[in-house]
């Protein structure tokens, strides 16, 4: 028996990832792909490039549909997304579990969150925050300027390619909802670690009303990111206005090549989130416990797969205090295993670095082991590796102001303790590049309609068109 082959056997049959093309499900097993994270195979149909394009001479299915009708349809879709009663989502959860590093329980939580996202008040609040006046999506809104010139403005529906991330199934529902509410022609390029969720939601829409313009405005397919045969053919201003892309490095470099006048990028850049903890944490043993629990919560979000998950924790305190905190934090991280499961073990490279730091006990402190159950590394400066799989890097500072030099444009969420110190830090954080300041422990929360990555995304999606009507007489 060949053990070399036995060790790496893929589940058979490989998970099937059907496509969704302009309102219709497309089944087929013609192409076999391998998921990036776990190296698991999945099969998809061949992409029909012509079918995923809507020519500019053809208005999108949603262009003349009222926002209220779109929202009602989304809300109904949300109602049908109860995991227990939706076979598409159940199959989806099973398949994602095979291709994604997230544990099944976390994936199911995410799918429940996805359904919650499609609530009427929430969707309307999102539109209001992005546009001020939601009517801008439905009508040409009149305005007369200070010189007496009249114009009409509309947030006109765009043609969008959404390059979806593979690390958070909930992003699929957000992108679909936002794409629908701006009435766009939407093409979703799914990621290899989740080529299922977007299609599962769109199939649910077919169950609501298969002929509705919302599903007809949507296509969701998979191709391997960077596949020039596909990207050179369709990333063109003749077909699309904007590429809405998550990610950085290679993922974005693939896309940047195709940008130019007429084809723009709206990027959700890769982000790192951090925590800033004041010496107030050591006021009592009780407060220390609370702070450690809140910090662990922020570190452990989606087993630290998410951009909002904290990775570096700047902490005021002397060595003894800091080490006490580190120990408590490790215990709290380990306690999370009970609810969200262990994260995968650390990759070999990172283990090697951590173990080397452990060997230098004068300069570093290491609590826990790298098996995904929670690890804390204390160092004078942020470590060189990117902490993942429930790893917290605690960096002692004299004052939280000293940590501002480590803030950059890749810093997304900053969790602060005590909450009263948020105001003292927020200008410095924003100036350094950080985009979101929250109370420690609340990194996973969301203020509905708040800016994301320093922008109002839907405001960026649409095409702002003006119809100028000259000077108004009288």
């Amino acid at each position: 028996m060949n053990q070399a082959i036995q060790l790496k056997s893929a589940p058979d049959p490989a998970a099937h990832a059907p496509f969704f093309v302009r309102g219709a499900l497309v089944e087929g097993h013609e192409v076999r792909h391998r998921s990036r994270d776990l190296g698991v195979d999945f099969t998809t149909p061949m992409i029909d490039l012509d079918a995923i394009i809507t020519p500019r001479t053809e208005p999108g299915p949603l262009f003349e549909v009222e926002l209220s009708e779109i929202v009602d349809f989304l809300v109904e879709t949300g109602r049908r997304m109860t995991l227990e009663r939706n076979a598409h989502l159940q199959a989806c959860a099973r398949r994602i579990a095979a291709t994604n590093v997230l544990p099944r329980v976390v994936i199911e939580q995410n799918i429940r969150m996805a359904a919650d996202y499609l609530k009427k008040e929430r969707l309307m609040e999102l539109v209001e925050q992005n546009f001020g006046n939601p009517k801008l999506l439905d009508e040409w809104i009149e305005r007369v300027d200070s010189t007496g010139r009249r114009s009409f403005t509309r947030a006109f529906p765009p043609r969008l390619i959404h390059v979806l991330p593979g690390n958070s199934p909930v992003v699929s529902v957000q992108s679909i909802a936002m794409g629908a509410m701006v009435k766009a022609v939407n093409l979703f390029k799914m990621g290899s670690s989740d080529p299922f969720m977007a299609v599962a939601i769109l199939r649910t829409m077919l169950d609501v009303d298969a002929s509705h313009p919302v599903p007809r405005s949507m296509s969701a397919v998979y191709w391997r990111g960077g596949d020039q045969q596909v990207e050179r053919a369709i990333y063109r201003p003749q077909y699309f206005d904007k590429i809405v892309a998550w990610g950085g490095g290679d993922a974005i470099n693939n896309v940047i090549k195709y940008l130019g006048p007429g084809l723009q990028l709206v990027s959700f850049d890769p982000k790192t989130s951090i925590s800033m903890i004041g010496v107030e944490a050591f006021a009592s043993d009780e407060s220390l416990g609370e702070v450690a629990r809140a910090a662990a919560h922020d570190v452990g979000i989606l087993n630290q797969e998410a951009c909002v998950a904290s990775r570096i924790l700047f902490l005021e305190g002397d060595r003894t205090q800091v080490d006490r905190f580190c120990q408590r934090l490790q215990q709290e991280l380990a306690a999370l295993d009970a609810t969200s499961g262990k994260a995968p073990p650390l990759p070999r490279d990172m283990t090697e670095e951590v173990e080397s730091l452990r060997a230098m006990d004068e300069d570093f402190g290491v609590w826990g082991v790298g098996d995904g159950s929670g690890l804390v590394v204390r160092s004078d400066q942020p470590v060189d590796f990117h902490p993942i799989n429930k790893t917290a890097n605690v960096v002692p500072v004299k004052s939280l102001g000293d940590a501002l030099k480590y803030i950059n444009v890749a810093t997304q969420t900053v969790g602060v303790y005590p909450p009263a110190r948020q105001a003292e830090l927020r200008n410095g954080l924003a100036s350094g590049g950080a985009q979101r300041i929250v109370r420690l422990g609340d990194a996973g929360g969301t203020s509905v309609g708040a800016p994301h990555d320093a922008m109002y995304p839907m405001h960026r999606f649409v095409h702002w068109i003006v119809h100028e009507d000259g000077h108004v007489r009288g």
Partner: protein, 459 residues
Amino acid sequence: MDTLSPTSEVDRLVRLVDSQNPFDMPFSEVLPRQLAAVNERLKDRIGKIKLLQNRAQAGGIGEIGRMADVVPLLFAHTAYKSYPEAWLVEKKWDRLGRWLDTVSTNRVQPLEPERIKSLDDWLEQLQAQGHFVNCSSGTTGKCAMMNASAADLHMAGHTLVQAHAWATGIAPQRDRRALMLAPVATTPRNVATQKLMVERFNAPDVEPFFYPALPMTIGSITEMVVLRKRIAEGTAKPAEIACYEQKAAQRERAMDEAVGAVADALIGSRDRKLYIMGLFGPMYKVAELVRARGYAGRDFSAENTGFIGGGLKREKLPANYREYTLETFNLAPHHLFHGYGMQELNTNAVRCKAGRYHMAPWVMLLLLDESGEHLIEPASGAHPAGGEHEGRAAFFDLSLEGRWGGLISGDKIRATWETCACGHRSPSIHENILRYADTAGGDKIACAGTIDAYVRGVA
């Protein structure tokens, strides 16, 4: 090697470097000897290399009884780049020294920090203590720093010379001109290896030739790495970046000019037998120029020999670059030495006439699964498993003194423990070697990431 002991299995195996046919020892014979030798190394090093001590404790391994026991004790190459890069930027030599100590066999003593102005100064002071630190020459990533003893430097070159004779049938007889044409960094290992090649191959009546462009010291390579880090942090000023890019452009020009000088040297020595050490990327350009000047294979000696390695990073060469280059200098393929090795080890596996890389008896080959955690057992009971097996390559180089000999590579190989078609019985590796990093998909998209994704590199 002045520390050889007749009772040591390590020494008995390493000494086979001077035997006639070291690549013929069958697995069944070499394995028990290697296990005893790795055990001997472990007993000695466990109290000396702190990272190993932690590893052995974590894995509960105090004794090597079988190959699987070695696996938890293997280091990944990242062990040698686990120092915080900020220490380089901030010139914290004392701390770097303490770090180096944890991955070294011999103690790194405190240095006089006031006499150290640069990384090159630091490395020089370490040499005075007998620590010859080699750096990987990656220009975009962190530098790996690997401590070596003087014996390691000698061994790295000596195994090459010996293997050269075994693989090509051409023994070093100081009867030819040696041309050292690889534009490599001046690490202690590269310098020592080149020196040894020249001593063994170059005829007394002719000057050897060395690649003429500006020497790249470890310090100058590290400057680039440090600057990249500072760009990421936002502490580098634009004028500094512009100045650096100018320097890099100068270096590029110097390398272009070197092509002419190298071509002149080759044409000028075409009447002699040659020993050529080079890299295919730059050598291809030289070959083009030599041909453009009207010379070809017929103008060079049919007894030329040499060692031409990869060097293809960032180079775009036509598919026939090998044949083209070798024909230009009349280098018969069987006169060319091919090794499969890495900076982290002293010893190369050597290519045989059947095109497979053979293991020296003092290097244990461990084939692991992709994760690097589980051994793919070569033998079940008394019978070695037949055929080839695919997996991640790992090695234990028993000749290593300055640091631990166990290493997990990033390479995906196919290996067999059976006798090779060339007739030699040592374990061997198929010539197609891939890097796991290249085989993994490149389309991971996630919202979590670092500033590195925004940083445009330098030069």
